[in-house]
Amino acid sequence: MSTKNSRESLNKFTKPLPIEIIQLPPVYPGNPISWLIATCSFIGQLIVKQSRKITVLYNQDEFCFKVTDKEDMDYLWKSGFYGKGSLSRSEPTWQTRAQKRILGVEKTETTSEEIVRYRRQLRNDYKQKRNKMLALERQYKLQGDSEKLKQLEVVRQKLSEQRDMISHSRPPERKDIEPQELRPEDRELIIDSKHIKNIEYMELTACEVLFLLYMGAIKVDSPDTGKQFTTIQLLRYLVNMFGAVEADNMFLIQFAVYFHYKSLGWCVKSGLKFSSDFVLYQRGPPFHHAAFAVTILKNSSINALKNWTHFGSIFRVVSAVKKTMVLCYIDTPTSNQLVDLWKTLDDNDNEGLINLVNMYSIREIIYKRWTPNRTRL
């Protein structure tokens, strides 16, 4: 991403968490009016903050946490990159793209999907040119034409420069976007000439929901009681969804790892695409590619360690996308310890979650392939 755009992103994504902070105007002890102003400001902001809490809908059948409001979706994405658009690669951009496609509405922002498509197209062009060049080269070599081979060398130079440029290029901004041909189902989406219905929702993972609820940024209704979940209630609910209450519970382990990296300031997203449990972004998806792919291994379970073929194949996939493979060994407490703590959890005391997570300890190992033949000097 070019410097200009990263500076744009810098201004756009300033908050690491979707939480509003109450900022008080200066209070002077000798000036009662300043107290009054501060109190008013405090109460005002408190009300705004409460109403700002994002509603997350929980769908029991699909086991899916959804955010449907477009503003909330953008807000969650901009402050910490939570969730994934159901019709997009990551950031929920379907509406923007649909407006461009169906209505031809001018939008200044370029969605990541458009950038990806544009770069893929460039790469295809590059490959075709390179293949042509290689064919020519072979032909000239057979003919023994050294003059033309020299000319080809220039072409090769140009091509490799062109290739290096691809990963920084962005699609040109087109002023006059012609709406493409409409599909029959598109007509149902149109509201008026400028607007379109948003059918995309944002999906949050269970770890994200629990984390955000603990941070006080969202509210989730319980499907059983209809009341809002407290953090501990949600924790109980999710752990039960993933199996019995024991130290090896997959959700507890996943959440402990998620929380670990989150508290160290990483942007943690699901790594299913790269056959890992999580991927870690240094700042967030718009800035860099994820640098690390985390695979969770349980120390307590024998089955977790499969075999070297297994690790080798994960590494091949992870290294093909230029990430570092992190093996995250997690030491679980004994089941008795966990059950004892589990009983003492109080519905209204959020700190119970921290006590629970503290029972797990985490060590990381970086896995790399070492080829003795090639690395020998």
Partner: protein, 427 residues
């Protein structure tokens, strides 16, 4: 080689022929023996020949078969071996009675596989060629010279066969197993007991060495003459200097064993025992896994005639080539986990799909619609195996395979169902 040596060799051969006829009686088909010149000239392949320097300061090369003996039998045999290793060229004619490197392997006869320790090995180049060309069995060259450990990427004979390949070859009646160590010592015992024969061999060998020396002397004189130094020729016949005697580079030696081999081939009980021993020793995998792997292996070979190599590099049990691996890229990465009965897992699906598509292959998962009726793994296996090998679970599996053998079961394997999985990038 000069005519001199060939003629000499021919003389040796005639002697040997007479001896063998005496020893082995009418069973030996001496008529099959090829022209001795040809047999002698088909010398070592370059993979395992230590180069001798110009002065003829080489070593008498040991034959592969003897190395095997040394490996297995330890100190007891060393003495015999030393005496024996004095006479490798002598044994060549006898080796060529069964296998002729020029004529290739006779497709009608079954091929012996030597079981040595926990490996199934092949030393005969003709057999290896035959298996590769006609059966698509590639194996793994595994021989390396102790003095050149950096040769780890370019290996030579012997060829090690994987357990799946051995099972396939036995199941389809192409090969039979031989207890390598025992067969070799039995042969040596026969040989060593006969004092006269040993003496005769020693004389013939020393004649051969003399011929070598004469040949070298002649070459040396020719060289000097070419350089115009004909007057400086000296007789360099130094008896203490060692000479390098070239030998054949395969187990033609074992051709003389064919009486022993036939015994192994015809005795099904011995075959079963050897195989169940090999099954136990060769891998850590339990028998169910071995059986499952073999089913998939056999299925791919029977239905698609693929060449199958181990697939650890690509995260599978096998990789499958549509023809010889030197001509084609592999098309399939084969996972032998039984998806009917085992959980493969979402992470593994995305992983292997991505990996396979990244290297332009398909990931193949194979399952058995109906699981084999008998589970072969047994918790008491170890105890059984030692006390009574015929009752062990390995033996049961082997018997099961042998009972099906040749009944066309493999061709009608309708229970194996395969799916391929590909990674497609959405959006």
């Amino acid at each position: 080689m000069s005519d001199l040596t060939w003629n000499d060799c021919e003389r040796n051969l005639i002697d040997m022929k007479a001896q063998l006829e005496d020893n082995l009686g009418s069973e030996t088909s001496v008529e099959n023996s090829p022209a001795p010149m040809l047999c002698y000239s088909s010398s070592c392949s370059d993979t395992s020949v230590p180069s001798s320097n110009e002065e003829g300061e080489g070593v008498v090369e040991e034959k592969e078969g003897e190395e095997v003996v040394e490996e297995k039998e330890g100190e007891e045999v060393v003495e015999e071996k030393e005496r024996f290793s004095e006479s490798p060229p002598l044994l060549l004619p006898s080796g060529t009675i069964v296998d002729d490197s020029l004529r290739g392997h006779d497709p009608e006869s079954m091929i012996p596989i030597l079981v040595i320790g926990n490996r199934a090995l092949m030393f005969n180049l003709d057999h290896i060629k035959h298996l590769r060309i006609h059966h698509g069995i590639v194996g793994l060259l595994s021989g390396s010279l102790p003095l050149a450990p950096q040769q780890n990427t370019l290996l030579g004979l012997p060829l090690a066969l994987s357990i799946d390949e051995v099972l396939y070859l036995l199941y389809n009646g192409v090969c039979y197993l031989v207890d390598g160590a025992k067969a070799a010592t039995a042969f040596l015992d026969d040989l060593v007991c006969d004092e006269d024969k040993l003496d005769e061999m020693a004389t013939i060998f020393s004649d051969d060495v003399d011929n070598q020396r004469a040949e070298r002397q002649r070459e040396y004189e020719e060289r000097l003459c070419k350089l115009g130094l004909g007057d400086k020729i000296v007789q360099r016949n130094d008896r203490n200097k060692t000479v390098f005697v070239q030998t054949r580079d395969n187990d033609g030696l074992f051709g003389a064993l064919h009486v022993h081999l036939r015994m192994y081939r015809d005795n099904v009980g011995v075959q079963k025992l050897l195989l169940s021993k090999l099954l136990r020793m060769a891998t850590n995998e339990d028998l169910d896994t071995i059986y499952q792997n073999f089913r998939v292996f056999n299925y791919l070979k029977m239905n698609y005639h693929h060449c199958i190599l181990p697939g650890v590099r690509f995260g599978g049990k096998f990789v499958s080539y549509p023809g010889d691996p030197l001509r084609y890229h592999s098309h399939l990465i084969v996972d032998t986990r039984d998806y009917y009965n085992e959980d493969i897992g979402m992470l593994d699906i995305s992983n292997r799909g991505r990996l396979a598509t990244g290297v332009k292959k398909l990931w193949l998962v194979c399952g058995q619609r109906r699981r084999g009726t008998v589970p072969f793994s047994d918790s008491n296996e170890k105890i059984n195996e030692l006390a009574d090998p015929e009752q062990s679970s390995g033996y049961r599996l082997v018997s099961n395979l042998f009972d099906y053998q040749g009944k066309g079961q493999a061709l009608k394997d309708t229970e194996t169902v395969c799916f391929s999985i590909e990674w497609s990038g959405f959006g």
